[in-house]
Symmetry: C2
Subunit: 326 residues, 2 copies
């Protein structure tokens, strides 16, 4: 893989929508024209929109939006992700969460980011899958090692959802909202989700993986039938898919900001943002967990980031997560 490939993509992106000759690429990259051709074939195999024509050379079509590590790492200096300097980009993986978990067990540091163009077995909550067509979404996992006890982990899920909704809203004419516990909503449809996975001792978190999946350029025909009425993408809801790199950068910056705030001991400002973005407080809900569903009025998040529900009896209980029924 290495730098020739990254350099090639960088040049193609600068010339997006216009032709560039094989000769010129060969000179710029200091490799043979045969090597250029080989890299191009591989990119085409990977599904990127590259056209070739005799006498003209190569063209990256405007609809292509390949990810580049250097584009993402730009502007992340000073953040936990910039400091780690470990942005791992893979073309296709089983799931970025599983890849990040493997890196975690191998000792990769806090701030490691795993990105994939597509996922073969993208993960949703509770063993569900996350539809992850290559090039048409953001599939990303963050590796964090917060000095927390496991009971405080829901705070990380809360700040991740806030960072996601805020950063995605910057790229959308319509604001995004959060549906408890982990859905990102555009209009009344799901455009993304957050998935937390943690490994801990009794009293100490070893690592947390924060996974995010967002549909950017997924078309209506791409979605499997069972998702069509419920899911959306930037392309479907706004008519246009933003370039993914700036979106990812915005998310990482927001995440870093809120993460530092929470680690400094101030959870309440993030919680206030969550409350505004979720609009859940005061609503009557039924939350279904592993046991029978519990009904009541959502009171808001407690200090650990867990939802408090007031049942009809007046008793307040904490609900970790579940599926909203009302």
């Amino acid at each position: 893989m290495g730098s020739v490939r990254e350099d090639l993509i960088a040049i193609l992106k600068t010339h997006e929508g216009s032709w560039i000759s094989g000769e010129r690429l060969s000179e710029s990259l200091s490799v043979s024209r045969a090597a250029v051709w080989k890299h191009m074939s591989r990119l085409k195999d990977e599904g990127w929109g590259i056209e070739t024509a005799p006498g003209k050379g190569y063209l990256l079509t405007r609809s292509s939006d390949p990810l580049l590590v250097r584009e993402i790492s730009e502007g992340l200096k000073g953040t936990v992700f910039g400091e780690a300097g470990r942005i791992v980009l893979v073309r296709e993986t089983g799931s970025t969460n599983t890849a990040a978990r493997d890196l975690a067990f191998r000792g990769y540091p806090e701030g490691t980011v795993v990105l994939a163009e597509g996922q073969e077995a993208g993960k949703g909550r509770k063993g569900r899958t996350w539809f992850s067509p290559a090039g048409k979404g953001i599939y990303l996992s963050l590796l964090l090692r917060p000095p927390m006890n496991p009971g405080e982990l829901p705070r990380i899920a809360v700040l991740a959802a806030v960072a996601a909704a805020e950063s995605l809203s910057e790229f959308s004419p319509l604001p995004l909202s959060i549906k408890w516990p982990n859905d990102l909503i555009l209009g009344d449809r799901k455009i993304g989700g957050i998935l937390l996975e943690s490994h801990a001792e009794l009293d100490l978190v070893d690592f947390v993986i924060v996974g995010m999946g967002v549909n950017t350029a997924v078309g209506v025909a791409d979605f499997p039938p069972e998702l069509r009425g419920r899911a959306t993408s930037f392309l479907l809801s706004t008519g246009k898919s933003p370039s993914r790199a700036p979106l990812i950068r915005a998310f990482l910056s927001r995440f870093d900001l809120h993460y530092r705030t929470v680690l400094s001991g101030d959870f309440s400002s993030v919680r206030d943002r969550w409350t505004a973005l979720s609009g859940l407080a005061g609503k009557r809900i039924a939350a279904g967990g592993p046991g029978p569903p519990v009904r009541g009025v959502a009171m808001g998040l407690d200090d650990s980031g867990i939802l408090v529900l007031r049942q009809d009896s007046g008793a307040c209980i904490r609900v970790y997560s579940g599926d909203l029924f009302e």
Copy 2:
């Protein structure tokens, strides 16, 4: 490895302390005398007390106490460990917790047990090591998949400590006690410990590994100098090391009993046992966690299994774990 080895060990154990000829072993096992010799050499290499003498054959010295899966699985029918039928015995491993974690990610069921004769990198809390000389201790990890949310996991640590203290007490003239959060104490010295490791989504436990290390036949010269004043073994404190298989069986049966009780919704009976075995309630302690130590009077465990501490200000806080200072 397989059954010839297990059969050979079983025959040796029946004849423990007396000679048995290579010819007779070869007949009983339906293998050549050369094969018997090969297996014996390997067992000797592994450090088992096997003597050979021309014309006499082989002898397993009484001080040997090799583990046999079939001896451990006896009497576990109807328990979660008997139902899984997955008792994995390895001679030497890095750590049984890590081995059990790998099996968990590979989909092994609840009730899987990993046992080792010795550990090269036995784990203690917070990255500490657990001294694990081959054949002289119990090194065991249980794989569980309780339908719990992560906040309830401390209950598993509590029931594990109770099961350990109760079962070990059966084999000791002196009773064992629990030192919060996870030490097993004989007299005033540490004879064992419990280590919990969990993997979870936000709201659902994927799996828990309960590791237990107990010093059975560790002699005073075996211990590294820094442990000598603080650690003990059955051999050191009672003059005699019990055979390990019945001890392991007793622990697994007790664990199963308390595990079912807790999963049925009754945590209070296990908590009462813990309170009696720990003698912590009402004592003044300083608990050191990741942050600065907190001081106060131990009030007992809350409904999640977390210790409640009443500070001098009168405020009660929950302490996940830590090191006792007073």
